[in-house]
Structure formats: C-alpha cells, structure tokens
C-alpha cells in the first residue's frame, strides 16, 4: 500500500491503518530496534509501541516520509528502553558499542560553559554530514542512526570491516573537530 494511503487511513481513524503499517514496515522497524536492543521481545514491544505512538501523532501530523517518521519513533522508543536497561548490566550489544564510539566525538567541554540549543547542534551535525561524500555519509548514518553493526555495513557496501572501522574512526574525529569549530561543546 502506498504511504499516502496509509496516512489517509490514520487520518480517517481507520482500524486498517496499523495492520497496513505493520505489513509494510515491520521488518524495517524491527531491525532498527533490534540493532539497539539486541533482544527479540523488547524489539517487538518497541515496534508495537511505535504503531501506538503513530496512531496518537497522525493526525495532527501528516508526515512527508512515513518510513523516516516511523523509524525515528522506533529509534527513540528503543533508545529510551536501552537507557532503562542501563541500570542493569551493560549487556545490550549495539547500543553500548555505539555509545562508546561516540565518546570520541565529544569535545572536552572544559574550555567553555556555553550551551547551545539542540537544534544548533543538529544543524552542525547535518552540515558535517552533507559535506561528506554520499558513501561516507550513508555509512556514518547506518552506524549511528540505524545502529547497524560494522559487519552488516561492510557486507552491504562490499568492503572490509576494517575499512568501515577506519572510515568511522576518521569521521568521528572529523565530527569532533567540526563541532568544535562551530563552538559546540556538549
């Protein structure tokens, strides 16, 4: 079913909206959640919560891109759940591995107390990403938006894991420099 039709079902408060979303987007949303949580039951729960959240948000919203809209919801719900789990053991694969890597992008913050609005930081991250080649940019987003494993990315791009790791390592370093240049110290 076309996205525009699915959104129309939501707007009509049709009971068919959620099965239509599930049919089209379940694998996509499940993979986002599973990359973060590495747990089948939790991921399924997050995807179901995504449907409910979408039901509550559409209307009033009318997303231009349904996949990204839903993906963003799943990502946020899954990250929140992972955060809850952090009180327990650090056993959830993808989420913590990515957190450790992102530590390298964070400027020290000692030299300034200035705090910028989140939107400015996001703008800076976006301008960084747009200034990179499509391939590099997508690999970075695959890792840090979709939380795909290095192995998965390497397979998708037909390059070695080592090359992916090196590329991400350089990009994290460059992002840190970019944020610092923009005066951003998280």
């Amino acid at each position: 079913m076309k996205d525009s039709l699915i959104i129309e079902l939501f707007w009509q408060r049709s009971q068919e909206a959620i099965p239509a979303v599930a049919e089209k987007y379940y694998p996509y949303l499940y993979s986002i959640s599973y990359n973060i949580l590495s747990n089948k039951e939790d991921s399924e729960e997050c995807v179901n919560d995504t449907y409910l959240k979408a039901w509550d948000s559409i209307p009033p919203q009318k997303p231009n891109c349904l996949s990204a809209f839903l993906g963003r919801i799943t990502r946020n719900i899954s990250l929140n759940l992972a955060k809850k789990h952090s009180a327990q053991k650090r056993s959830n694969g993808g989420y913590y591995a990515v957190l450790d890597e992102l530590n390298e992008c964070i400027p020290s913050g000692e030299s300034t107390e200035k705090k910028l609005e989140d939107r400015m930081i996001v703008d800076s991250i976006e301008s960084f990403l747009y200034s990179r080649s499509l391939e590099k940019r997508n690999i970075f987003i695959k890792r840090y938006w979709y939380l795909c494993s290095v192995k998965e990315i390497a397979k998708a791009y037909s390059i070695s894991e080592n090359k992916v790791a090196s590329l991400l390592f350089r990009m994290r370093k460059e992002l840190k420099e970019h944020l610092e240049k923009d005066g951003i110290y998280l």
């Binding site: 963003r72 990250l79 992102l102 530590n103 989140d118 996001v122 997508n138 987003i141 840090y144 790791a165």
Partner: protein, 350 residues
C-alpha cells in the same frame, strides 16, 4: 551521559539523510551496468570455455632486482634477538593471498614515476590533517609514503629513552606512550605496536624501532596492514622524536587471490635453489633455517606486491666476538605455476 545526548541528537537529522542511508547501496549506475556486462561476459566465456571452470589468474614475475644495496644480512648474537610483530603465523593455514600490481614501479632511470604524483599529494594532504599543532613539515618520501619532520625534535618525558642501549621492555614502554600521545598521527582504530629490528651494527650497538599497523579480525587484512599501511617513529642522535614515516601503499590494482604454498613446501624450494637473495652465499643442505616468516616485499623495484617466505640463514662472517650473521633469502609464496620467471638462483651478487 554526553554520548547518549549525541546519539539522541543524531536521531533528529534530516529525513532525506535517513532515507538515503537506507537505500540499497549501488556505487553508480554505470558501474551497475558494467557489472551486468561483466556477468554477461563471464557467463559467455564460461559457456565457451567449458570445461575450464576456474578463473585464470595472470602470471606474475618475480623481481630479483634489489637495487644494488649491498647484501641483506643481519647481525645478532642469537636469532631470537631479531624481532618484529609480524602477524603471520604458520597456524593461519592460509590457502590464498592477494597479489597487487605496484602502480608506481621505478622507471628505467630508477625514478618514481610521474603518475604517482596525484596519489602522493593525497597522502601528504592527509598526513597534514593528522597534525595537532605540532611544529612540523610534511613531505613526500617515495610514491606511497610521507615523512613528518618535527622541528625542533620532540623530547620524550624523562622516564623514557630511545637509544641503542634500550632494552626491549624499555622500548615497549615508550611505544605504549607514543601510541597514546600520538594517536592522532597514528590515526588507526586499533593500532598494534610493532617493535622491530634488534640487530647490531658494526659498533656492536643494537637498535629496536617502533612502528604501528592496524589490527583486523581478518588474518589476510592484518598481514596486508602490517606490510602496506604503517606508521614509523624515528629518533635523532639525541633520542628525540624527529621523524614519523607514514606508508600507505596503493593497493587499488588487485590481480587476484593466488594460491600459496605452505612453509614446508617453501623450505623445500629454498633448498632446491628456487629463491632470490642479495646474499653472496648459495644455499646448501648444511645451512640451517634459523627463522622464517611471510612478508610482502614492497619496494619500488617490485612490479607486483606479492607474498614471499623470508628465511634467515646463518652465513659465515669474520666479525668475531661471537656475533653471527643471518642472511635473508626469499622464496615466492605464490604457487610456481603462476610465476613467469622463477629459476634456480645463479648465485650472482649485485
């Protein structure tokens, strides 16, 4: 946590970025078309050439030109003093290894070819980016390596020293310090320390050197990193850090995955005389192999970057004082059916 915040903020990036990253990867349409054409060609050839099912690897030539640099022998009291962090081991059980065309073989006048300029320029540019405020100049040093020169040379903290008299443990400590302090110059996700050398000069001074290469889960990749992508730290006569050498060989022209022989087989080949060397001593059955490793030779004379078994054999010397000389002999690791010019070594010396 700050990284959680960053992860959360990354979630807010533009929709088009998210959508684009989720599209199936294709290098470009032309490439895709080229791939289709290649598949068609391969299928065609396969049908035509049945029963020749295996892909034919081009034959390669063994380079026996060493550039007239004297002969390659190392002096040590015991072979165990000759060290390095070569990741290769016989246990890896490798059946094939990649062979590459050396894009920048020296021309007939032994000059670096002009075609390398663009590649070298990129290396220099990348190396400059690695600096973090150090007072240094970056210049090309061959087609695929650059030198960072610190001016003035940088003094190490007092507890470290870097000279002929340092033990392996002292150099290890220093390497750990360098790895941390100069991680921006090493610029590798998971650098492995390579302390190498350990041979003596004619003044009976032993020298251990420090370099780094990137780790990998793949044995082959680790071997390639060790041989082709390295960062070396050099000292001046006062034990200060004055140079860093970065080598990144251009491996863009892969010829294929070549079947390789085992170490045992290579030993047999060595005693049969199928080796190359600069050492003016012909191998005979009484000469004992003291050490063996697998390496890629990667100097400007080589037309191909191909793996060799490198054998260290004790050879006669007249130095006295109990120090021994270990001559180096190379046996191509690639199966001989893929070698164009491998003959019994004639014993010549440059």
């Amino acid at each position: 946590m700050k990284n959680e915040k960053l992860l959360q903020l990354l979630g807010e990036i533009n929709t088009d970025l998210i959508v684009s990253a989720n599209k199936p990867y294709r290098k470009n349409t032309l490439r895709a078309l080229a791939l289709v054409a290649c598949i068609a060609l391969v299928v065609g050839v396969a049908i035509y050439a049945l029963p020749y099912k295996t892909k034919k690897l081009p034959k390669i030539t063994v380079c026996d030109d060493f550039g007239g640099m004297g002969y390659e022998a190392l002096m040590a009291y015991d072979v165990s003093e000759l060290v390095n962090a070569n990741p290769w081991s016989e246990d890896m059980k490798l059946s094939t290894l990649p062979v590459y065309k050396n894009m920048y073989t020296y021309d007939e006048s032994l000059n670096i070819p002009k075609s390398s300029e663009e590649y070298t320029e990129i290396l220099v540019k990348e190396a400059k980016k690695r600096l973090d405020g150090e007072n240094a100049t970056v210049s090309a040093s061959g087609a695929d390596s650059v030198i960072i020169e610190f001016s003035p040379a940088i003094e190490f903290p007092q507890k470290y020293s870097f000279n002929h008299y340092c033990s392996y443990e002292e150099i290890s400590d220093l390497a750990e310090y360098v790895k941390k302090k100069y991680s921006h110059i090493i610029d590798m996700p998971d650098p492995i320390i390579n302390i190498y050398g350990g041979d003596y000069d004619i003044y009976d001074r032993r020298m251990l050197n420090i370099s780094f290469y990137n780790n990998s889960k793949s044995d082959t990749e680790k071997i390639l990193n060790y041989n082709f992508n390295t960062v070396h730290f050099f000292r001046d006569e006062n034990g200060k850090l004055n140079l860093v050498g970065i080598t990144e060989c251009d491996l863009s022209q892969k010829l294929g995955e070549y079947p390789i022989i085992t170490l045992k087989k290579a030993e047999k080949e060595l005693y049969r005389g199928y080796y190359i060397t600069t050492v003016p001593h012909k191998i005979n059955k009484d000469m004992k192999i003291e050490k063996a490793e697998l390496i890629y030779r990667n100097h400007g004379y080589d037309k191909y970057y191909m793996p060799y078994y490198k054998f260290y054999i004790e050879i006669p010397n007249n130095v006295g004082s109990g120090i021994k000389s270990y001559g180096v002999y190379y046996v191509p690791a690639v199966e001989s059916r893929y070698l164009e010019n491998m003959t019994v070594w004639d014993g010549s010396f440059n």
